[in-house]
Structures are given as structure tokens and as C-alpha cells.
């Protein structure tokens, strides 16, 4: 399978997969994001955390061009959103679609190839094979023919993840991938995240469970309408920053920040571009 976007990834000298400058988004004259500056590093797993209504989903949707910013600039691999979003695979929230839709698991995953196919061309054997491969990566190949309503919440989440994997893009945007999933799904997602990092792909995920941030992610962005802090987890994920972000109402705050740093000796920076997978 060709990866047309790989070149673009190397081409950008700034080292950021996605650069957000001075982004302000307002719904009905009510600001949701105020002047946010964030650079998401390449080849790194970044969590976006913040309280409800902090604008986490809005940030993701702005990057994808789903909402129109009032001001600001977004660059994806150095390109504006319209061109750059071809390099982005999107995993929306599970609740964003009607699961009673008459379609099968394989069909949903094949939708990930539609962007490559362009107008009118239909998915063929190659696209379905790619979809099966992606289903295998999330441990769902046995469910290919099943109607999507007949899946558990975690299985539905894995189908969405597989659909994004089929896009074979260098950047992944995930909106709460761990929300309400079972342990098995959580493990499957974590494994996929590891694979993506090993390949040098970039993952940006809205995340709710503060406890698991140090374990799963390299970088973190603390967001509450404006950017509170962003950077490597060890530096930024501090009690002081969390308190600022959540206004001092952080449950488990103690437990979160006292967790030891991940034992894997994960490098704080992304892997070098051409590093072979371990």
C-alpha cells in the first residue's frame, strides 16, 4: 500500500506534525477556545486533557476543518487544513453516529479508503483486504460481517480505530478513544498506539482518565478554553498545572501526579524519522 504522505512528513522542517497558532473559536459569539498556541510533535503520542467544556473536541474539529475558527492559523505538516487533512486519520467519538445504520463492520472500516479512492471509484478487493488487515490489528477480524449494532461499545470503538488505520495516514486524531470501553479494548488500543509510535506516526487523543496519561502518552496538552500548558508529560503534567487547568477540583490529583514516571525509558522526544521499528 502506498503512503503518499510520507514525503510530506519529511518535508516539513519545523518538526511539528500539527501547528496551531492563536486559534480562537466561538460558537454563537461565545468563545470556546481563546488564542490557543500548540505545536504537536511528530512521532509522539499526545494527550489533550481538560475539564468538560474546555474545548478539547473543538480543537480536534478545528484541525479537521469541521468548525470554522474566528481567528488563528492551523498547519498540518506545513500545509493549510484543506490540503493537510489528507494526512490525518480521524477517530470520532463513538456517540457521533447512529449504530442502527444498516451496514457491516467490514463496510464501515472500508470507509477509511474512500478518501484515497476519490469520486465515483468503488472500493474493490484491495480496499477490502486493507480493511481486513486493519480489523486484524484491533482483534476484530472475526466480526467482519456483523451488523454494527450487534457490537459492544468497546468493539464499536475498535471498529472506528480500524477505519482510521485503513486511512494509513501519518497523523491520527482521536476523540476520547478510551471513553467507556472494556479492558480488552483498552489493551487493544494501547497496543495499536504503541505500533503507531514505533512506525513514527503521530497520535493526538482527547483523553479523560488522568491516571493513565503518564502511562500511555509522551506529551500532554492541558486545555481549558485557553492552553494551560503543553509539552512532555514529565515536565508539564504537574499538580500545579492540573490545578490551574481544573480550577482546583481535580479528583485523584494526588494519585495522578505521584505516579512514578513510566519505566519503559521512553524518550521524551519523538523517534528519529528513519529509525527502524524495534
Amino acid at each position: 500500500m502506498e503512503r503518499a504522505d510520507r514525503g510530506a512528513r519529511r518535508g516539513d522542517a519545523s518538526g511539528a506534525a500539527i501547528e496551531v497558532n492563536d486559534l480562537t473559536v466561538a460558537y454563537r459569539e461565545q468563545p470556546v477556545l481563546w488564542d490557543v498556541d500548540v505545536a504537536f510533535r511528530k512521532g509522539v503520542l499526545t494527550a489533550i486533557v481538560g475539564p468538560n467544556g474546555a474545548g478539547k473536541t473543538t480543537l480536534i474539529q478545528s484541525i479537521l476543518g469541521l468548525v470554522r475558527p474566528a481567528a488563528g492559523r492551523i498547519r498540518i505538516l506545513g500545509q493549510p487544513v484543506r490540503e493537510g487533512r489528507r494526512s490525518v486519520a480521524y477517530v470520532p467519538q463513538r456517540g457521533s453516529v447512529d449504530w442502527d445504520f444498516p451496514t457491516s463492520v467490514l463496510d464501515v472500516v472500508t470507509m477509511g479508503t474512500y478518501g484515497r479512492l476519490g469520486w465515483i471509484r468503488r472500493p474493490g478487493r484491495r480496499e477490502r483486504a486493507a480493511a481486513m488487515e486493519a480489523l486484524g490489528k484491533v482483534g476484530m477480524e472475526a466480526f467482519e460481517g456483523r451488523q454494527i449494532r450487534q457490537l459492544s461499545g468497546g468493539q464499536q470503538q475498535r471498529v472506528f480505530l480500524a477505519r482510521a488505520l485503513v486511512q494509513d495516514a501519518p497523523i491520527y486524531l482521536m476523540d476520547e478513544p478510551f471513553q467507556g470501553v472494556d479492558a480488552r479494548t483498552e489493551a487493544a488500543i494501547v497496543e495499536v498506539l504503541g505500533d503507531l509510535r514505533a512506525r513514527g506516526d503521530t497520535v493526538i487523543a482527547v483523553h479523560h482518565a488522568l491516571q493513565s496519561v503518564p502511562e500511555y502518552f509522551d506529551d500532554v496538552v492541558l486545555l481549558n478554553v485557553r492552553r494551560i500548558a503543553s509539552g512532555p508529560v514529565q515536565e508539564v503534567f504537574t499538580e500545579a498545572n492540573l490545578r490551574t487547568c481544573y480550577g482546583g477540583r481535580v479528583p485523584f490529583l494526588q494519585a495522578v501526579t505521584e505516579r512514578p514516571a513510566p519505566a519503559t525509558g521512553r524518550p521524551a522526544t519523538g523517534r528519529p524519522e528513519d529509525a527502524p521499528p524495534p
Binding site: 492563536d22 480562537t24 466561538a26 468563545p31 481563546w34 488564542d35 475558527p69 481567528a71 488563528g72 492559523r73
Partner: protein, 370 residues
């Protein structure tokens, strides 16, 4: 103006106001299209009751029609509850079926039923004055006026008595149930009044235009106020105005009175949509234009605050940087900076550097901790 015209006009106003009052809650409860469903399916109740009592003037017809209206709502809810179809599809399945049965019955027994298809769709407001209500030989006015007057009073009484319950169950079903006002009971009581109103109005304006009278005036009022009592009052005023306006136009064109009333509600609604002081399209355009600069000024203050004291501040906090990063045109950036300076939020230096004043800093902080 003849006495008959006057009577028709009075009836038109009474019908319109009687429809608009429950219509307010239909709009607020997002059940506008249930009025469509009810106003169609009551025809079946009327036809079936007619076959039973063989008298078009019998009050049994009104009762049967009202029951059919409530049954329609129950059917829609039951169909939705099977989770096999979504609610919108449930509405779109139930009322056409019931209405079709009624139309076919009328068509098959055209000789027996003194109802024709035109009457179903348009009502007979123009002929309403011919049906008199007399008692002991004394003429007391048109029957429709009495019926609709009674329904208007009934609606006003219902809304007056159960105002609190309706309001509560409209805005917070959970709280309503917790306080012991079953939303289901309120719902069915309310749907009964909607059905009775639709039956009464059906006679005068037909099944589809009832929907215009129930929905459009409250929707127009909704654009003008957020307060429920005012909403009810304005809806009634709009409804009455539509009735009078519609009647005059119908007289002038020699066209259907009911149709003209419906168009009049549409005209008033469009007027409100464009001209309403806060929510109107024009007002919002003007406000947005003015606010854009104000909003941008505050945004600029926040931008300056964010970068104040950082190493990149000299580069970020200058006029020339804004067009590139905030995606503003040069002109707009200058306008915003001037506006913000006038407001005392920042100072401009000759080389294009922008610095927050203490006031600007305060404003930006205040916005961010919102």
C-alpha cells in the same frame, strides 16, 4: 362591511387565537409536527363517528375526533418505543395511514358523508355564518363561533390552571417527575387540548392550515421574547393579526380565507425572522459586524497577554504579526488595534509594537477565567 363579513372575521380571530395558545407549548416542547399528525388523523375520527351517529352536527364527532388525536400520539409513541423506527419516521408513517383511510371512506361514501376533499383541506369558514345556533327561535350567532369560543376558553383555562405543570414538564421533565407531576399525564392532557382545538379549527380552516395557525405565530413570538407569559400574549396577537390580514386579502383576491390566513402567518413570521430586535437576522448581522471588532479587540488583548514576557513576545506582539497569525487582513488588524487603543486596552508604539495597559491586562484575565 356586511354583518356576515364581520362574523367571519370574528370567527377567524377566535380560531387563530385558540390555535396559537397550545401552539406555544408545541413549539417549546419540540412537538410542532405532532400538530400536523393530529390535524390529519382526526378526520378518521370524524368520519367513523359520522357513520355511527349519522349526523354531522353531533358533538359525538368532536369527541371521537379528539380521541383519535390522542390515539395518534399514542400510536406514534408506541411505534417509536419499538425502536424499529425513529420518531420522525414514526410520525410520517402513522398519520398518512389514518388520513388515507378517512379520505378513502369519504370517497367511497361520497353520497352519504357531507364532507368533500376541499372541505377537508380548506374548511368552510366562508360558509360558517350560514350554520346558525338558535335557542327558542332566537338567533344567537354562527355555531362555529360558539364552538371555537368554547374551545378558546377551554384552552385558556387549561393553560391557566396547569401553567406551572406545563412549564415545568416542558423545561425539565426530570424535575417535573421528581416533584410528582407525571410528565406523561401532563403530556396526554395537553395533547387532548391540542386535539380538541384541532377538531374545532378543522371545521373552519381544514387539516393542513391548522398547522400554520398553531406553529407560525408562536414561532414568530419565540423570536421576540424569552419570557413565557409574553410569548403567549404575542402569539395571540400575531394570530389575531394574521386572521384579520388574511381575511382582507382573501376578500380582495376572492380566494380561500383559510389559505390567506396561513400565508399571513407566514408573512408575519418572516417579518419577525428578519426584523426581530435580538434574534432577527438583520439585527444579528449588525451586531455581529460591530461585535467583530470588539471581540477581536479582546482577542488581541488575550493574545498579547499570552505572549507577554515570553521570549517570543517582541515578535508576536506587534501589529505586523497579526495578519499572518490571526488571519486578519492588514486593514482589519489596524482597525482592531485602533479600536482597542481607543478603549484603553493597549498602547501602540511607532515601530508597530503593541503593549497591554493595566486595564487591558485586567480585561484579558477576566475573560480567561470566565
Amino acid at each position: 362591511m356586511t354583518a356576515m363579513d364581520l362574523e367571519v372575521q370574528i370567527m377567524a380571530v377566535v380560531v387563530a387565537v385558540a390555535c396559537a395558545l397550545p401552539g406555544c407549548f408545541l413549539v417549546l416542547r419540540r412537538m410542532a409536527l405532532l400538530s400536523d399528525a393530529i390535524s390529519h388523523s382526526i378526520l378518521l375520527g370524524i368520519v367513523l363517528a359520522f357513520f355511527w351517529v349519522r349526523d354531522l352536527a353531533s358533538p359525538v364527532l368532536i369527541l371521537a375526533a379528539a380521541v383519535t388525536g390522542v390515539v395518534t400520539v399514542a400510536l406514534v409513541e408506541a411505534l417509536h418505543a419499538t425502536r424499529r423506527v425513529k420518531e420522525d419516521a414514526a410520525i410520517a408513517l402513522v398519520f398518512p395511514a389514518l388520513f388515507s383511510v378517512a379520505v378513502l371512506l369519504i370517497a367511497r361514501h361520497a353520497g352519504d358523508v357531507h364532507l368533500d376533499v376541499d372541505a377537508v383541506l380548506l374548511g368552510e369558514l366562508a360558509f360558517a355564518p350560514l350554520r346558525r345556533f338558535s335557542w327558542n327561535g332566537v338567533d344567537l350567532g354562527p355555531k362555529t363561533l360558539w364552538v371555537m369560543g368554547a374551545i378558546l376558553l377551554l384552552n385558556a383555562a387549561f393553560l391557566g390552571l396547569f401553567y406551572k405543570e406545563l412549564k415545568l414538564s416542558t423545561f425539565d421533565r426530570g424535575l417535573s417527575a421528581a416533584l410528582g407531576f407525571s410528565p406523561a399525564v401532563v403530556q396526554y392532557a395537553f395533547m387532548s387540548t391540542v386535539s380538541v382545538t384541532a377538531v374545532g379549527a378543522f371545521d373552519a380552516v381544514g387539516s393542513i392550515l391548522v398547522v400554520a395557525l398553531m406553529i407560525a405565530p408562536p414561532a414568530a413570538a419565540r423570536l421576540l421574547t424569552h419570557r413565557l407569559p409574553l410569548l403567549l400574549l404575542l402569539s395571540a396577537v400575531f394570530a389575531a393579526a394574521s386572521a384579520l390580514l388574511g381575511f382582507q386579502v382573501a376578500l380582495w383576491l376572492d380566494a380561500s380565507i383559510a389559505g390567506c390566513m396561513a400565508v399571513a402567518t407566514g408573512v408575519l413570521f418572516t417579518g419577525a425572522l428578519l426584523l426581530a430586535p435580538d434574534r432577527g437576522v438583520l439585527a444579528r448581522l449588525v451586531v455581529r459586524r460591530r461585535q467583530r471588532v470588539e471581540f477581536a479587540g479582546l482577542m488581541l488583548s488575550i493574545h498579547l497577554l499570552n505572549h507577554e514576557g515570553t521570549p517570543r513576545a517582541p515578535e508576536e506582539n506587534r501589529l505586523g504579526h497579526l495578519p499572518e497569525h490571526l488571519r486578519w487582513s492588514d486593514d482589519f488588524a489596524l482597525r482592531v488595534a485602533r479600536h482597542a487603543e481607543r478603549e484603553g486596552l493597549l498602547t501602540r508604539s511607532g515601530d508597530g509594537r503593541l503593549d497591554l495597559t493595566p486595564l487591558g491586562r485586567e480585561a484579558a484575565r477576566h475573560l480567561m477565567v470566565r
